[in-house]
Structures are given as structure tokens and as C-alpha cells.
Symmetry: C2
Subunit: 275 residues, 2 copies
Amino acid sequence: VTPGSALLPTSAGGVYLYPGEFEAIVHGLGSAASALSPDPRNSLVSPPVIARSVIERAGYAKSFPHLLGTVLTRSPGGTADEPDIVLLPAACYCVYALYEGARLEAPAELSVGATCFRHEATTEQGRLRSFRMREFVLLGTEEHCRPWRDTRLAAVRDWLASLGLETDRAVASDPFFGSENRLLKALQAEEQLKIELLTEVGDGHVQAVASGNYHKDQFGRVFGISDGSGAVAHTACVALGYERLALALLHRHGPDLRSWPGHVRKTLGLEEALG
Amino acid sequence: VTPGSALLPTSAGGVYLYPGEFEAIVHGLGSAASALSPDPRNSLVSPPVIARSVIERAGYAKSFPHLLGTVLTRSPGGTADEPDIVLLPAACYCVYALYEGARLEAPAELSVGATCFRHEATTEQGRLRSFRMREFVLLGTEEHCRPWRDTRLAAVRDWLASLGLETDRAVASDPFFGSENRLLKALQAEEQLKIELLTEVGDGHVQAVASGNYHKDQFGRVFGISDGSGAVAHTACVALGYERLALALLHRHGPDLRSWPGHVRKTLGLEEALG
């Protein structure tokens, strides 16, 4: 094994091992991203599996059946069974379930980290089936959520620029609660519910490295969450994709972390990590 | 959500969310454990999924079919398919696959971290279906592997004692390459291939928090790994279970991390983490 900064391919496409220097970047991104959140105590980590019922109720299983990985187990006798869990498709779902039935006296902001899974059909640079995501989530009113999403995403964009990553801001055409209906898709795009930050993660490979999503009252309705006035809560989230961000930084600054610009090394704590 | 140090149950048994203070313990354990490994550059992180073929060839799917979680996906049309990956049952499997066909001029020692999955039938304190594991792995000769396993496990035991965790050392009766054959099981126990460190993770709940395993040439044979002389390589690993260790520390020192003994807080870097 050659230690280094490059992802190590495995015999499964879109599944990679992460060597120490790659992990130093991911770890540095995580520590630095924590500074974007106002209250680091409200942080959660989720395991890579979640109750099937949460994902079904949230509408993901219906909208993206081809991306969802469910879990199959076998009895000692060999009989196959689909138990009560699936692979987590995005970090923030565990938060809405955690707040089921809650009435929020004030907007609640949380940070959640998790390894997510999507059964992607292709394996170009930056398209991983298993990947780590950090999300900031706000639960509140309509007046809180959309401006928060825009402000927080702008802060992420400035932060990425400070790391040398210029990003393009684009309205996504495939929002989180997807639809096969083209008119509905167009309306969702018109509402700018999902905005992505795109950058090059390899020669000629542009991927979304962050996104900001405003879900309106979709998850508030499903999980019975209300705001201070008793109305259905609205939610929004801003997501960072750690592997894609690390790949973008490696593409921008090169494979030798010791030659990266001093302020990037400092922000990511690479001096200490690399010894 | 009340921030705190206790695992947050979800609607799926044996699946928990980890709040910030619990994560501070896990993070501190990870940093401190790195000091147990001689060369931190030889570190890997694995995603929670792995090629199905690796787990089948390694014998896990046959030995523990009831614990293995496989992944099921569906086509856009709804047809179910079992793709080429399964949930990782132990961190070290990715290492043997990475060394497939290698000839080792010298023993190789690696550290690997991963979130693992086992479809446990019960959910008592400390028995999680999804849990994080750090493993140290040695690939070398028979002469290297067993003494390394014993030395490394003794170091782990001393380290845990320094954190206030007294552990019992026990030979396990269910080694990694399991057998339904009672005589074979007894012989494997007699050979002391798997040794566990046990401690209380809750009132009356004793669990293994670490283990040391000597696999003889099992994985060397399967993956065609040879030592410097061209003989089949032997392997050994020492594993730490992060959630169980964190639970054991919480059980030992109490739920308020600020009241933990100063040297434990210092070793785990809790002062900085808690602000």
C-alpha cells in the first residue's frame, strides 16, 4: 500500500478506501465546517442506516426507488428477510424523525453528519455510491427557512472560495421530493427549492459539492412538527459532500498536501495532521 | 433535542443517533488510539459497504449468514436486485482485499476505521446493529502475527485501564471463521485465536469492547498474500469498538463529561471539544 492522498479503488465500482492524507482533508473540512454553525453543541452523527418507515414516509422511497439501498438479511436457515432499516440516503432525514410531534417555540438549528448511500448507475470521478455528508438543518417557519438557506449557502460559497474553490451556483432540476411529472419538476425548479454549488472535482468532471434545500412544509407535515404558532413547521438544509470537496481541493491544489497554499493548510489543520 | 452524552434511540432497535458529547468521546478515543499504532501514516478509512465477493471469499457470508446485511436495490421499474456490495461486517476485511496477490518483503501494519453492521437479534445495552470499529491489522508470518496480537492487545488493555476501564480477558468461543461444528469450535477456542476484553457498558451489561484475533493463514490463502519467503502470509488484528468503549466510559465516570477525572478528560481531548 502506498500511503498518499488519492482514493483507493476497490473491486466494487463507486466504492473507495480513504488513505490517511485523504482523511486528513476530510477531517479538516469537518472541523472547519463546524465553525459555520452557530451552536456546535447541537450536533448529531447518524449511523449509515435508518428506519425504513422514516424514508418511506418522507417520500424518498417513492421518489428515488432506483437510488435507495435497502438491507436484506437471512435467517440462520437461509430465508431472506427485508428488515426495518434501509441505507441512509441523506443525513438530514434522521433529524425530522427525531423531531416527530414536536412543537418548536423557536427555530431549531442542528448539524448532522453521516455516511450516505445512493445506488448510482455510473462511476465517473466524484460519483460515489457511499459518501459522507455534513448537513445543517433548520426547523422553523417559512419566514425563517428560505432566508436561512440562502444566507447559509452563501457563507458556504464564500468559505469554499477562501479554500481556493470557485463554485457555480445552479438551480437543480431534481429536487429532493422528485417527480416524474415534467410540469411539476419545472415548477419546483421555478421555486428554486434546491440550489447546488458546482465545481470541478477532476479534469472535465464538474459535480455538486454542496447544496441548499428548502422543503417548504413537506417534512413538517409528514412528521407532525409545528412552529410556535401551532402551524406546520417548515424546514431547510444545507449539505456538504466531504469526498467531493476533498477531490475538488486535490484537483485544485495538487496531490502533495505539503505544497498546498499556507492558508488552506492552516484552515484545514493539515500541518498537525501530516506531522 | 436535549444536547447531552447519551445515545438517542431511534424507531429502529439497535440503531442510535450520537449527540455532540457522545461524539466528543468517540473522537477522543480515535485520536488517542492512533498513538497505539507505530505508523499513523498507514491508516485507512473504509466506507460501510464492501464488495460482496470479498465477504463471500473470506468466509463470513457462510459462517455468519444471520449477521450479514446485504444490499437490495430496485430498478426504476421496481424489480429488486442484489448488487455487488454488502454491509461491512468488520473493518479489517477491506485490508486483506487491498493486499490481494501481494508479496510482503516485511510485515505490514495498518490501521483501519469503519462503520460496521451486524444484524443482531437482541438490543440490550451496548449491542448495536450499526457501530464503529477501529482495527489494527498485521500481515506477516506466523512468528510475527501471534506475538504482535498479544502485545498489541496487552497495550490496549493497559490503555483502557489508564482511562479507568478495568477489563476481563477472555478466550472467545465464536471465532471470526465460525463453525457449526462443536468440536472445531472447541479446537479454535483451545488455540486462543480470538481473545476479547470485556467490561461493563451499563448496569449488569458486560460486553466485549476490544478483541485480538489471529487468523493463521486463512485470509492469506483466500487473497493470495505471501510473506517474504513466498509462503502464505498470516494475519492478525486488534479491534476497538468505539460505541461500547464510550458507553463503558460513561458508565464508569458518569453522564457529565465535565466531572470526569482530569487525566481522562486530557487523554481524550475533552477540554477542547466541550469548550
